[in-house]
């Protein structure tokens, strides 16, 4: 039954392939999120040159709101300097967040960004963000965390408010400090 053997082999390959496909869905999902802004995921770091090429749309004002969340059990504070900014698309803005480690331990935090509405996520471009890095803070230490961003001029007309949220998570092992 050579033909059976070949068929079984082929089907087994399909099985292995689909098992792999299950894992391939992980990067595929990221791509899909980047394309559609699904889940408010923001694309990663954007080159500052992308902004200069755009020109500023002075006609239009977009509200950018900042909200922060601390994960359960983490003894940190994270507060935006201001709760919202009125911005012109295409113009670069600087923003600061204040982080304080209230615990008695040196800890490393990681901020996870999310943008709402999700369709707007691709248009909120961050050229510098503390969320790109891990953030170590000693016990009781306070730090000012910078964010530089611009809103893309291509932002769909029906969106006038973008909300940027940061959820702060504790990373399990403190990295040794450089």
């Amino acid at each position: 039954m050579a033909s059976s053997r070949r068929l079984v082999g082929g089907l087994c390959l399909v099985v292995v392939g689909m098992f792999g496909f299950g894992f391939a869905l992980v990067p595929l999902y990221q791509v899909f999120c980047d394309l559609t802004g699904l889940n408010g995921k923001t694309s990663n770091i954007v080159n500052a040159q992308a902004q200069s090429s755009q020109g500023v749309d002075l006609e239009r004002i977009v509200t950018v709101e900042f909200v922060t969340y601390i994960s359960k059990g983490m003894q940190w504070q994270l507060t935006p300097k201001v709760e919202q900014l009125k911005v012109h698309p295409g113009q670069m803005y600087e923003m600061e967040f204040i982080a304080t480690n209230l615990s008695a331990k040196d800890q490393v935090g990681q901020a996870v960004p999310s943008v709402s509405p999700g369709q707007g996520a691709n248009y909120l471009n961050k050229t510098e963000c503390f969320c790109f890095n891990q953030q170590p803070l000693a016990a009781g230490e306070t730090a000012t965390l910078p964010l530089r961003f611009f809103v893309d001029t291509e932002l769909p007309k029906n969106i006038s408010t973008l909300t940027l949220s940061y959820t702060l998570y504790e990373l399990p092992q403190p990295q040794q400090k450089g």
Partner: protein, 394 residues
């Protein structure tokens, strides 16, 4: 379309009256609670334009389905009654008819298009990202909701108000059993309210049927929904995504007030928040005695802690640790305060620091250290709790 709508309305009112009769019959058979409100047998029309659209869409599709069902089943039962062997029916031998097959593929397709058009319109109306008058940050956690009025210094937790003795059938259940909370969300009528929904732990889902708003609260990500309420009133909903043990016990209550009343309320809350901070300062100076601490502590414990750690302090083996005789509740005081104030990450133990006052925290911690034969004799004071919050003496 208007004719269709009219027939939709006639049929739905017919259905409603049939429901009422059906309900009476049911009530006669099973009236196991005199308090039971009558249950609507259809989707709510709600109190927003969107919820009304959703209801109309629901009725349209429901009636289309009923009509199709009627035609198909009528044909089938016609065959069942008339084409039976004991009536002497001889079987025909046809087994295909391309024309008929094309027709009954095409007609459903046309019907589907007819359904898709209003559905698409409603969906686009629901996903309107225009500016809102008020933004509420809704945060779910095991097993309560937290509301923060964005741009205002008002935030609070909203917990189930039905008590454990009602849940365990020791006391008569109140009218809104399981649909009542201690601090409801208050919203203005007629304004566009936006909800930013997220979660602290597992996935929850914030659902108020009267607004046709149901949005998942995903940990680490924010989701957006909005509503514009047309009528003042009290609207009730529940968490709609399995979120662990007390998924059935985290209701949502919204009180919609006219704008001026709402603004008065909000201003009051902002003042209260300021006053609470002042009171906190005063509390630092106070000292509770054992009796007062145990009394208040027991109340707080039963409301916030007993659902997991159980009223007898023994927890649930393997799921929620016992406090009775536990190391945390009998040894290091600071460690005990710390875990109650800040919670424990990666577990269901949440941070109560923001939910309870200093006095309540001190009382409940003291209660845990003395109840169930823990008998440490420790009396905890608000100042000690505050010290832990500020990381002094650690």
């Amino acid at each position: 379309m208007s004719q269709l709508e009219r027939s939709v309305i006639t049929i739905s009112s017919l259905i409603r009256s049939v429901h009422k009769c059906g309900y009476l019959v049911l009530m006669m058979g099973f009236s196991n609670s005199a308090l039971a409100k009558s249950m609507p047998f259809n989707l709510t029309e709600g109190v927003t334009d969107v919820s009304q659209q959703v209801y109309d869409l629901h009725m349209t599709i429901f009636i289309i389905c009923c009509v199709i069902g009627l035609v198909v089943f009528a044909a089938m039962f016609w065959a069942i009654f008339n084409h039976r062997k004991d009536k002497g029916a001889q079987a025909a031998q046809f087994h295909e008819n391309t024309k008929v097959e094309i027709i009954w593929t095409a007609i459903p397709f046309v019907i589907l298009i007819g359904m898709a058009i209003p559905a698409t319109k409603t969906l686009i109306a629901m996903e309107d990202p225009s500016d809102a008058d008020l933004t509420i940050q809704v945060t779910g956690s095991q097993w309560k909701w937290h509301y923060k009025y964005f741009g205002h210094d008002v935030e609070y937790y909203s917990l189930l108000a039905s008590r454990q003795d009602q849940i365990h059938n020791q006391k008569q259940k109140r009218e809104n059993y399981l649909l009542e909370v201690d601090y409801p969300l208050v919203l203005p009528v007629g304004q566009k309210v936006r909800f930013l929904v997220t979660s602290e732990d597992v996935i929850h889902s914030w659902w108020v049927p009267a607004f046709a708003v149901k949005k998942d609260a995903n940990p680490g990500f924010i989701n957006e929904a909005w509503t514009r309420i047309n009528e003042p009133g009290i609207y009730r909903g529940q968490c709609a995504e399995l979120c662990g043990k007390d998924h059935g016990f985290m209701p949502i209550v919204v009180i919609a007030k006219p704008v001026d009343e709402f603004e008065t309320w909000l201003a009051e809350q902002e003042q209260k928040a300021v006053a609470a901070k002042a009171e906190e300062q005063a509390m630092l100076a106070m000292s509770m005695d054992m009796d007062e601490m145990m009394q208040l502590g027991e109340q707080v414990y039963n409301k916030h802690c007993a659902a997991c750690h159980q009223a007898n302090g023994e927890g649930l083996a393997g799921v929620f640790p016992a406090l009775k005789g536990s190391q945390i509740a009998t040894q290091d005081i600071l460690g005990h305060i710390n875990i109650v104030v800040h919670g424990k990450s990666g577990t269901a133990m949440q941070a109560f620091g923001k939910q309870l006052t200093l006095k309540e925290l001190a009382a409940v911690i003291g209660y845990e250290r003395n109840a169930w034969d823990n008998n440490t004799g420790d009396v905890i004071q608000p100042a000690q709790v505050k010290a832990v919050m500020q990381q002094k003496d650690l």
